[in-house]
């Protein structure tokens, strides 16, 4: 499945411009060397991506409706603790927020083996089941919380083909 997901993604890449493809390939090459991927870089990338999640949770009415009354605290970190973040999804209040430390009693945790694994997962749509088998990712806590979180992430992911949801679907 990892191969399939990647090839889908790479098929999509053939449709985009040459510079973007070139950049992607270069980035991938660069990332192969673990020395290039340090905690701060992984953290920066995560912060960028999670910002779109948080913004959507406050401003996008469809996304807000999908969150509904979902309240969850999810720790996302690397084993070496060089990346430590906590995502708080609060459907009933102001939307979501990200903390720069780990929550003491999270509902679920996603733990990456290393900053490099984290970057690969965030950027290259790695298959989470393969990662579980390879022990490159560990999931702790209520799996249903992770499933719901991944549903929300899928909505925001521009790279996957999905059902189009409109505000009128919620009325």
């Amino acid at each position: 499945m990892r191969d399939r997901t990647r090839s889908d993604f790479e098929k999509w890449l053939t449709k985009i411009s040459f510079p973007a493809r070139w950049s992607y390939e270069k980035l991938k090459e660069w990332l192969v060397d673990p020395a290039h991927v340090t905690g701060p870089i992984a953290m920066l990338l995560y912060d960028l991506l999670i910002r779109s999640f948080i913004t959507a949770s406050k401003t996008n009415p469809v996304f807000k409706s999908l969150i509904g009354d979902f309240n969850a605290t999810i720790n996302i970190y690397t084993k070496d603790r060089s990346v430590m973040r906590c995502l708080i999804i609060d459907g009933s209040l102001e939307g979501s927020s990200s903390l720069k430390h780990l929550a003491e009693h999270p509902d679920a945790e996603i733990i990456f083996n290393s900053p490099r694994e984290m970057i690969f997962t965030l950027l290259f749509i790695i298959d989470i089941y393969q990662d579980l088998v390879d022990d490159t990712i560990q999931i702790k806590g209520n799996p249903n919380v992770i499933y719901r979180y991944l549903f929300l992430v899928t909505y925001l992911n521009p790279l996957v083909q999905k059902i189009k949801l409109k505000q009128s679907d919620f009325e």
């Binding site: 499945m1 399939r4 999908l66 509904g68 009354d69 979902f70 089941y129 579980l132 088998v133 022990d135 999931i139 702790k140 806590g141 209520n142 799996p143 249903n144 919380v145 499933y147 719901r148 991944l150 549903f151 992430v153 899928t154 909505y155 996957v160 083909q161 999905k162 059902i163 949801l165 679907d169 919620f170």
Partner: protein, 801 residues
């Protein structure tokens, strides 16, 4: 009373039925073959709504589930689709996917918006249903489904749970279902649900409180089924009133009168019996996930009704074929939910609702009858993957039966699978089932023999990866915390192969221990999550004793383990025996280095191992002896472990597509398997290893004691279809499987397709919508398989006769 002669068939090249005779069936079949299944949320929505709104004491699981069943069945849409000859449906869709949020349904949460676009097993789902699931249904179950309850109960640091999370040691199916059993439909046909309700009421008067609660729950659930049937009756009458086609109007009134009668009352005719079974199936699938939930010996259930109706002139053979074909299509119209990751292990699998035909009666008399032949005709005519048809083969079978079975296999290319009656009965007796009850066995799911309505066996409870024990022993996989039996630096300390073999056995024991431990924990939780009041009512035991199935109330209690990858383990152990211990060709560190490099720069070594070292499947005693030792050992250790219902575990050797899934997560193996390549399916020899023809395969496979495989086994054989262009070859084919059975083989299944055709089907799937192949115990459409599984089927060793 029942005729053993083969009644004359109708027309076609070989005197078979053809689709042109049954336009309604043809159109239903086209729909099933070509349409994408659609997710049905009706059951999940009704159950969730009931639990959210109920005032019933939620702490009493049995009462809660019984009331929920009555509510769901009373409110379930009574659907009659155009052209239906049997009323009702499991889902609200013509081809539907049932959701059980109590189990793994929430795992498709991330996929809700993409599931219709995915490559493997895509399913339609409406936007409204996506939102209903996301907003109301899944959140309700988020802290109370099996996945989460197990985690809460045993903790995620539990070693058995952690091994399960790694996916390549074993899979526990209780996270997704219990199912895997066969109800006693005979009691429904004989007594009707009203009769069973009456019996439960009588027993209630003198019962202890616990038993009284069970009887009450059974009654509530059965009342729900009767209400559903009444709703179907009313819907049929309404449709009849507005129907302009007089022939269809007559059909609808006839169906209404049948639903008025059954399953509430005993069945009197063939039509009533078939409808009664189908209505009960629809109801049972609201309680049980439809995974390997099987129908039993349909030819035996229907034989007397058929005979009487034919004699009284109220039914013709053609009408019976049409009704049975509808039954096949109705059964085949429900597919199980498959999260994307599920395709690793259950690629192309349907619900595997097995129907067993032929065999003998309780007294040992041959029981092939007129309906047996009808079932074969329908299997050939309808030619769909579900239901999974299994033909029992006996030495006293009429020759025309055996030949007809062979014809149907060749014409469909894959079905039915064949099972040896004598060996199966022996295996069941060996685990304590009485001779008479053993004779009344049928198959569950893929290949698991079960005494109908008496054995509560969850035959598919565990799928277990055998070769991983070798990886643990060699430390070619890194699970430091679990490698309890040896250290890498001790490998060279082994003086003999037997000492090394003992280490492998210890690791097998270790994996079996953790798998059964987790399965037992899940079983305990099932008692509070999903006791099954309706199944209790249609099973022998609970109604008689007042003890529910999940507490051990069935006559026979067991759980099944399916061991995967035996041939690979045998072959690899033999390579180690030869090259490391006998010939000193290399030592363990050298071997491990080669394996860890995935034979990179050691291709010559791999070629040597494949071509010069003996393999299982070539009839070589020394190799087969390792297999025998392993089978004996696994039988001993599994039978010694008790399940949560105080019954034993039964070992079997079949793999669904887990041989591909486990293989995908594995490294390179000494016998030449490269990393990520699939293991051999079930008990089939490794494809590149089998070089000596069918006789040698049979010799190797039957050298293992099949009586020690009470949870069944599967042997795949692949032939070119062009081989069967004359009658002589047909006779050789029949002789082949009869010889295999005479030598003690338990089960065999065939894929009969030309290799060129399979390769063309891979390139042009649109040309072959109904091309069926055998996987491991079940039949799948070739198009439903991943490229990886397609390659596995194409590359399976061809057998020539």
């Amino acid at each position: 009373m029942q005729s053993n002669t083969h009644p004359p068939r109708k027309k076609g090249i070989k005197n078979h039925y053809i689709m042109d005779d049954f336009p309604q069936i043809a159109s239903m079949r086209e729909f099933i073959l070509h349409e994408m299944p659609e997710i049905c949320i009706e059951r999940a929505m009704l159950k969730t709504k009931f639990l959210k709104e109920t005032s019933i004491d939620i702490g009493d699981p049995l009462l809660r589930e019984a009331e929920a069943m009555r509510y769901m069945l009373s409110h379930k849409l009574p659907l009659i689709f155009p052209g239906d000859l049997l009323a009702g449906s499991v889902t609200t869709k013509r081809k539907g996917v049932l959701l059980f949020p109590e189990f793994l349904a929430t795992s498709i949460w991330p996929e809700l918006m993409t599931i219709s676009k995915r490559k493997q097993n895509p399913c339609k789902i409406s936007t409204e249903d996506v939102l209903e699931l996301n907003d109301n249904i899944f959140p309700f179950w988020s802290d109370k489904n099996m996945n989460e309850l197990v985690r809460q109960a045993i903790g995620e640091d539990d070693p058995s749970y952690k091994l399960h999370q790694r996916l390549f040691f074993f899979m526990i199916s209780k996270f997704n279902c219990q199912s895997h059993t066969i109800p006693d439909f005979q009691r429904v046909l004989d007594r009707g649900l009203s009769g069973l309700i009456q019996q439960a009421r009588e027993r209630m008067t003198s019962a202890q409180p616990k038993a009284k609660a069970l009887y009450n729950a059974m009654i509530l659930a059965m009342e729900g089924v009767i209400k559903y049937s009444e709703n179907l009756c009313n819907e049929l009458k309404e449709q009849a009133l507005i129907c302009e086609d007089s022939e269809r109007r007559h059909q609808l009134y006839l169906m209404a009168s049948i639903c008025h009668e059954v399953p509430a009352n005993p069945a009197r005719t063939f039509r009533e019996a078939l409808q009664s079974i189908f209505t009960c199936l629809c109801a049972l699938f609201q309680e049980q996930n439809n995974v390997g939930f099987s129908i039993g010996r349909l030819d035996q259930l229907l034989a007397n009704y058929y005979q009487n109706d034919i004699e009284s002139g109220t039914l013709t053979r053609d009408e019976a074929v049409e009704l049975l074909a509808h039954f096949w299509l109705k059964v085949g119209s429900t597919t199980p939910l498959m999260p994307d990751a599920g395709s690793y292990f259950f690629n192309g699998s349907g619900a595997n609702q097995a129907i067993t035909i032929g065999g003998c009666d309780r007294d040992g008399n041959n029981a092939v009858n007129a309906v047996t032949y009808l079932c074969l005709d329908v299997t050939e005519l309808v030619h769909i993957k579900d239901p999974n048809i299994i033909a029992r083969i006996r030495s006293d079978d009429p020759p025309e039966y055996t030949r007809r079975v062979a014809e149907v296999i060749i014409n469909t290319g894959s079905t039915p699978s064949l099972v040896n009656d004598d060996m199966t009965i022996e295996a069941l007796q060996k685990i304590g089932i009485s001779l008479e009850d053993a004779r009344e066995y049928a198959h569950v799911g893929c290949v698991e023999p079960t005494s109908i309505g008496r054995t509560f066996g969850h035959t598919g409870a565990i799928l277990l990866n055998l070769p991983v024990a070798l990886e643990l022993s060699l430390k070619t996989i890194d699970i430091q915390e679990y490698t309890t039996f040896m250290e890498e630096n001790r490998l060279n300390a082994f003086q003999t192969f037997d000492a090394f073999m003992n280490t492998v056995k210890n690791h097998l024991s270790f994996i079996v221990y953790h798998a059964t431990r987790l399965n037992n924990a899940c079983g305990e939780l099932l008692k509070s999550l999903l006791p099954q009041p309706l199944l209790n009512a249609v099973f022998e035991g609970p109604l008689e004793t007042g003890q529910q199935l999940l507490d051990g109330g069935a006559m026979y209690n067991s759980s099944g383990i399916a061991f995967v990858g035996l041939a690979d383990l045998i072959d690899s152990l033999y390579v180690i025996k030869k090259l490391v211990f006998e010939e000193n060709y290399l030592d363990f560190p050298e071997l491990i280095k080669i394996l860890k490099s995935n034979f990179k720069e050691n291709e010559e070594f791999r070629e040597m191992v494949i071509n010069k070292i003996a393999h299982f499947g070539n009839g070589i005693e020394e190799v087969d002896g390792i297999g025998k030792e392993l089978v004996d050992y696994l039988y001993q250790i599994t039978r010694d472990i008790m399940n949560y219902r105080h019954g034993p575990y039964n070992p079997g050797y079949w793999s669904v597509t887990a041989h591909s899934g486990f293989g995908r997560f594995s490294g390179a193996f000494p016998h030449g398997k490269k990393a990520k390549e699939p293991f051999a399916s079930s008990l089939t020899p490794v494809s590149f290893a089998s070089k000596s023809g069918p006789t040698a395969i049979i010799k190797s496979v039957t050298s293992l004691d099949h009586a020690k495989m009470p949870n069944g086994m599967a042997l795949n054989m692949k032939f070119n279809k062009s081989l069967f262009n004359n009658d002589e070859k047909m006779d050789v084919f029949v002789d082949l499987f009869k010889t295999y059975f005479k030598q003690g083989g338990m089960q065999v299944q065939f894929t009969i397709q030309d290799a060129e055709l399979l390769m063309d089907a891979k390139k042009h799937p649109e040309k072959y919508p109904d091309l069926m192949v055998r996987i491991s115990g079940y039949t799948a459409y070739f198009n439903d398989l991943s490229d990886r599984m397609k390659d596995e089927i194409i590359n399976r060793a061809l057998v020539t006769i």
